[in-house]
Symmetry: C2
Subunit: 225 residues, 2 copies
C-alpha cells in the first residue's frame, strides 16, 4: 500500500522539470504546444504556414529539435520569428531539461505562443512531457491508414490530430475517414483536422483552433479544456 | 588502459545476443536483412512486392515488429510466406533477444531468407543490431529531401538505401539526386535505388540486388562485401 502511495506522489525527473517549464509558461502567459509526428509529416512547413498567417496577431517563438542540422531553424527564422534549434546529437526525443535550458534564450515576456517542434519520431517523444499545454500529432496522407492503430500512444496523448499533406491523398489509398475513425477508437474526444499547406485546404480550421487556444490562454489563468 | 581494453572486449548484451542470432542464421545459411524506416515509408508493401516476385525462387520468412496490431503480419501472410508478428507493446525498436525468441517459431532449415521489418522509426532501431547480414534503410519521396542529413545514423548503418514511393515525387519537391548526394556525404559507398511498388519503377534493380545477396550468401560461407 505504501509503495502505491509513493508511486502516486513521486514524479519522474522529466515530469518534475516539465512542471517547472509549465510554470515558466504560465507565469508569462505563453501558450505552449508540442508538435509530434513521423519524419517528413510536415511539421516545419506547418509552422512556416502558421507563422505567416498569424505573425501580425500573435507573437510566436519556435523551438526546433533535430538529431542533426540547423536546417529547420534557418527555414523558420526566414519567416521573421524568434527560433532556436536543439540538436539532440542522436537522441530520439526532446526532454524537459533541454527545453528548459533553451527557454532562457527567448524573451518570454514578449511572446504569446511557444511552438516546440519535436524530433521526427512517432514513438519516443510521446513519453516525454515538455511542459506544453497542448500536444498536436501530425499524420501525413502518404503514411497510410493504419497509423493510429499502430502508434496508439501518439494518438492517446494528443490534444489534436492533424491529417497533413491531404493534397497527396488522391495519389495514395489514404482515407481520412478511416484514419479519423480509428483515432477516435483510441481517444473518442480527439478533434481531427485534415489540411494541406500546399493547397490551403483545412488551414482556416487549423488557424482558428490555434488562435482560439492561444487567445483563451492569454485571457484566462488556465487553458480551456 | 585496462578499462579501454575492457571496453573493446565487452559487447553490450544486445550485441552478444545479436551475434547468437547471426550464428543461427549462418548455420542454416539463411540470409537475414533488417528493414528500417519512418512509419509509412512502405516497408510492408515492399515485402509483399518482393515475396510475389521471388516466391518461386527463394524460400522467404518474415518477422514483423510493431507497437500494436497484427495487421502487417496478416497482410504479408496472404502472400503465402511464413510470417510472425512481434508486438512490442510500446517499445520503439526490436531487440536481438526478442528476435532470437521468435526465430524458434520458424523452420529455418527450409528458409533461404529472413526479412525483419523493424518498428517504424528512423532513430532508435538504428542502434540495435539484430544479427542481420544486411540493413536496408527506406526513405519515401513524401518525407522530403532533408532526411539523410537529419537522420545520419540511419544512413551510416545501412547497406542499401531505398528511395520509395518515387511515383509520388512529381507531386512533391522530392529530388532523388539531392537525397542520394546527401546520403553519400554520410556514407560514400552506399548503394541507392529509387523505386515504386505502385508503378514498378526500379523494382528490377531491387530484386536483382536482393536475389544476388541471398544467392551469394547461400553459395558461400560469408556474405559478400
Amino acid at each position: 500500500m505504501g509503495s502505491i502511495i509513493l508511486k502516486d506522489r513521486v514524479l519522474s525527473k522529466n515530469d518534475e522539470l516539465a512542471l517547472e517549464n509549465r510554470a515558466v509558461f504560465d507565469k508569462r502567459k505563453v501558450w505552449c504546444l508540442n508538435l509530434i509526428s513521423s519524419p517528413g509529416a510536415g511539421k516545419t512547413t506547418l509552422i512556416e504556414c502558421t507563422v505567416d498567417r498569424l505573425r501580425e496577431k500573435l507573437s510566436i517563438g519556435v523551438l526546433v529539435g533535430d538529431l542533426d542540422t540547423e536546417n529547420d531553424a534557418r527555414r523558420i527564422a526566414a519567416h521573421g520569428v524568434a527560433v532556436r534549434q536543439i540538436i539532440t546529437g542522436g537522441s530520439c526525443h526532446l526532454n524537459a531539461k533541454t527545453v528548459g535550458e533553451f527557454l532562457k534564450h527567448f524573451d518570454l515576456e514578449s511572446l504569446d505562443v511557444m511552438i516546440i517542434e519535436n524530433v521526427g519520431n512517432l514513438v519516443c517523444p510521446t513519453s516525454y512531457h515538455l511542459g506544453e499545454h497542448d500536444r498536436v500529432c501530425l499524420i501525413s496522407a502518404p503514411e497510410g491508414n493504419d497509423k493510429p492503430l499502430k502508434y496508439p500512444c501518439a494518438i492517446h496523448t494528443a490534444d489534436l490530430l492533424l491529417l497533413t499533406k491531404i493534397d497527396l491523398a488522391p495519389y495514395t489509398d489514404f482515407n481520412p475517414e478511416t484514419v479519423r475513425n480509428s483515432a477516435l477508437r483510441i481517444k473518442n474526444s480527439l478533434p481531427v483536422i485534415q489540411l494541406s499547406c500546399k493547397s490551403g485546404e483545412g488551414l482556416d480550421r487549423w488557424i482558428e483552433w490555434f488562435e482560439n487556444r492561444a487567445r483563451s490562454f492569454r485571457d484566462s489563468k488556465e487553458v480551456p479544456s
